[in-house]
């Protein structure tokens, strides 16, 4: 039986390890999104739709500020090597390493060494190498490094309170990522509903699945037709899919239950769990068709606001005395 009560995790450690996990998840998603966009996502003129990534991340303002020419092709360096963008892969890597440095007494030498080497690789990556013709290789490498990290975490992270906060961060971030992806892509593709069945349409919709590493899993369900509502339903509601909203909400809920039961934090966790229960109920009570017909965008927006509130409530519950961590707050996305 795992005993989560024996240590009382420093609040700062909890904050840092949670953000470490969130950024790692966010980085992997971004790398996948960039790669898929480059390969599969085209606009009406056959041009790569870089602007869709900018809107998924709500980065229009910063992007215009840093790239006044507003050339969407600059999105690649903006999201990989640009230090001025706190949401770029290199900025996130630095934030991950700073957070890991803060919790270094808790993480294994293997985990630290891997993050240290990976971050140095990213810091040495010049903008030229991450250009278009090399983008796929760079993104693949980043994704694999993220996955190596998960493997090391799975195999070496001691299962104490710190691990629970790591899990909270990881699964909350997955919830956030999948709702952003579904929301923006759906809206981008919606007008094309008018000419269903066309070649480009299917490619575009399957690219949404690919962005979430869901394409082959979805295929295995052998849906009669590839329809937007099938895809939305799969990404939001299929609990077997590791990145689905429903699955990750369940994992956040389970992790909170662990904290509540085993760390003697029942009272502290109760309001958080109520909020999660409500979220999960709205999702299980509706079909994908319901969600779409009632307004997918509004629903995704609402979920994201709830997720932001849960993150804020976790902060006030477990690290009530700001300022605490090395990184975190300044990199949170503005809604």
């Amino acid at each position: 039986m795992t005993d989560f009560t024996f240590n009382s995790l420093l609040s700062r450690y909890a904050e840092c390890i949670m953000w470490l996990a969130r950024y790692m998840e966010r980085m992997e998603n971004l790398a996948r999104l960039l790669e898929v966009t480059e390969t599969f996502v085209r606009d009406g003129e056959g041009q790569t739709a870089w602007d869709s990534i900018i809107s998924i991340n709500s980065d229009e303002e910063l992007f215009t500020q840093l790239h006044p020419a507003n050339d969407p092709a600059d999105a690649v360096s903006f999201y990989i090597t640009e230090h001025a963008n706190p949401g770029s892969i290199v900025s996130m890597a630095v934030a991950i390493r700073d957070n890991a440095r803060a919790v270094r007494p808790l993480v294994s030498t293997e985990m630290w060494t891997h993050l240290n080497v990976f971050t140095r690789w990213l810091l040495d990556l010049d903008a030229g190498r991450a250009k278009l013709n090399n983008l796929s290789a760079v993104c693949t490498h980043i994704r694999q490094e993220c996955q190596t990290h998960y493997g090391i975490a799975e195999g070496t992270l001691y299962h104490d309170q710190a691990w629970l906060f790591y899990r909270l961060g990881k699964h909350l971030e997955r919830c956030d990522q999948i709702t952003r992806l579904v929301d923006i892509r759906y809206h981008m593709l919606l007008p094309r509903e008018e000419r269903p069945g066309s070649e480009i349409d299917i490619t575009q919709w399957t690219s949404v699945l690919r962005s979430a590493a869901a394409y082959h899993a979805f295929r295995r369900l052998r849906p009669v037709a590839v329809t937007p509502s099938n895809i939305v339903g799969f990404l939001l509601k299929n609990e077997s899919f590791p990145r689905s909203l429903a699955g990750n909400l369940r994992l956040v809920d389970e992790t909170l239950t662990f904290l509540a039961n085993h760390a003697g934090l029942r009272d502290l966790c109760a309001p958080l769990q109520e909020c999660l229960d409500e979220l999960r109920a709205t999702l299980s009570d509706q079909t994908a068709e319901d969600i779409i017909s009632r307004g997918l965008h509004d629903y995704m927006n609402w979920i994201q606001r709830q997720l932001t509130q849960i993150q804020a409530a976790i902060a006030t519950t477990f690290w009530p005395q700001p300022p605490v961590g090395a990184h975190g707050a300044q990199l949170q996305r503005q809604e």
Binding site: L10, S11, L265
Partner: protein
């Protein structure tokens, strides 16, 4: 190819590491013992002879890459950029025989015992001052003398819980104490990490030798801190207080907190309520009883010291004064490792312990005193002159190595503020074979053993051997181009 090499015995074509080593005019730890060669030294020599230079370079490069990847680094700041540096690692070990170690160990134990008695005295009865053993103004006007410590009873009478004593060897191989470090000495993590590295890198060199283990340091440190926790606390909560991730010694803070299994905290993780110290955890405030602080006195509590410091904990000193928490080391220990007070240490040892010093000090002239200043000025070109308040090898001049202009310049600085300086003869520091760009050459080396003091003084059987990598240099500090090597204390 010359005749000489053609006719040389074939074995030199695969020459051992030390075949071309030029033995200098200094005591060499491995090659010039000025007497019979101890068996332990001989066996390391024999093993080194079976390695060649390329192999050693290959292994050294691998070792340094590994240290860098693992982040066993210290941070240097230049142009507002933080650069992670490793402490250059030399793979040729430094050997200390069991007999030599016995001498060092007893000498360090005696020294620490005297330092603690001295500190207790100057913060209580001041007998040592009344008896004229050391000038009162040197102690009471010392910038490190801490008024908050006057009359305060500390657990076990221990002020210096963690210490590092800098030793050097002269031309005759005599160990001398060069400096005491009684505040927050660093470097012990390198002692242990160097050993791990050495065992990975040179298993063939170490195997079967009776090398004493350095693994015990972490548990011993924890035990020491528990021993000096406030009376009546069962199972005290120990923490390590660090200035944070941007501190140059942060790696060592991580290392030690991990070895002890205690939280590594920053000032903002702690708070004081009703004169008791707590840490902020996810389950709420948790009491803290003993703090191994790697933060200098002046940053510990903005209410008492530097009000602008964000690193400390408001109210910590009052909690300490009330005996609710132990700080290790105590406040105000900097008087004891002051470079001017150093000159009086032999007398201080005799005064408190009635014994002669087991480890001698280097002759020291105090420029605050007229005779000392006169002597120093007359012999500037032969002496090492050091500012009393500096550490890390900054601001000193080595007379024989300085140009006439540098000496003249220094003479003015010295005359402007004589009280800021002491002078010592230049010691012909011992050397040790070290891997250099042109092969294995002699480089000067010192030794910092670490001691822990709770109920008794325990000395880690090992130490940080720092090497001056620049040819002829006597400055071993890491900030000034020093490296380090593993120190093998032999059990027999």
């Amino acid at each position: 190819m010359s005749d000489a090499t053609l006719h040389a015995p074939s074995s030199t074509q695969f020459s051992g590491l030390l075949d071309n080593y030029r033995i200098p005019d200094f005591f060499c730890e491995l090659m010039n013992r000025q007497g019979p060669v101890p068996a332990a030294v001989q066996s390391v020599r024999n093993r080194l002879a079976s390695l060649d230079l390329e192999e050693l370079r290959r292994r050294t490069t691998a070792a340094e890459a590994q240290l860098y990847r693992m982040g066993i680094t210290f941070t240097v700041y230049s142009n507002r950029e933080a650069i992670d540096r490793i402490l250059p690692f030399d793979a040729i070990p430094r050997v200390i025989t069991a007999q030599e170690w016995d001498h060092i160990e007893r000498g360090v134990q005696q020294r620490i015992a005297a330092l603690n008695l001295f500190l207790h005295d100057i913060y209580h009865d001041r007998k040592v001052l009344r008896d004229g053993i050391i000038p009162a103004e040197l102690v009471l006007n010392n910038p490190n003398y801490c008024a908050a410590m006057i009359g305060l009873k500390v657990p076990g009478g221990v002020y210096v819980h963690v210490s590092g004593t800098d030793l050097i060897r002269d031309r005759d191989g005599r160990f001398l104490i060069l400096e005491d470090n009684a505040r927050t000495p660093s470097g012990v993590s390198y002692v242990i990490e160097n050993r791990h590295m050495m065992l990975r890198l040179m298993p063939d060199l170490a195997s079967g030798l009776p090398i004493r283990s350095v693994e015990e340091y972490g548990p011993r440190l924890h035990q020491t801190l528990c021993e000096v926790a406030p009376e009546g606390v069962v199972d005290p909560q120990v923490v390590l207080l660090s200035p944070g991730i941007y501190n140059s010694a942060y790696f060592e803070h991580v290392f030690l907190s991990r070895e002890m299994g205690v939280p590594l905290v920053e000032g903002k993780d702690l708070f004081v309520d009703n004169h008791r110290v707590f840490m902020r955890t996810v389950t709420g405030p948790r009491p803290v009883h003993a703090i191994y602080r790697r933060l200098n006195d002046e940053f510990l509590d903005p209410l008492v010291f530097n009000p602008d410091s964000l690193l400390g904990v408001p109210g910590l000193i009052e909690a300490y004064r009330r005996g609710n928490v132990t700080l290790a080391n105590a406040l105000g220990t900097g008087v004891a490792d002051d470079k001017a007070v150093y000159a009086y240490m032999p007398r201080i040892i005799r005064y408190y312990l009635g014994e002669d010093p087991i480890l001698e000090s280097v002759d020291t002239h105090i420029c605050a005193e007229p005779e000392g200043l006169a002597y120093t000025l007359a012999n500037l070109d032969k002496l090492v002159v050091k500012p009393v308040g500096e550490s890390g090898g900054y601001g000193l001049i080595i007379g024989p190595h300085a140009t006439a202009a540098e000496l003249e310049d220094f003479r003015h600085k010295l005359l402007e503020n004589p009280a800021n300086y002491i002078s010592q003869p230049v010691i012909g520091l011992s050397v040790t074979p070290t891997l250099c760009p042109d092969g294995v050459e002699a480089r000067h080396v010192d030794l910092r053993p670490f001691a822990l003091t709770g109920r008794a003084v325990w000395v880690l059987p090992g130490g940080l051997s720092r090497v001056a990598l620049r040819k002829g240099s006597l400055v071993v500090n890491s900030s000034q181009g020093g490296g380090s090597k593993d120190t093998w204390v032999m059990a027999s």
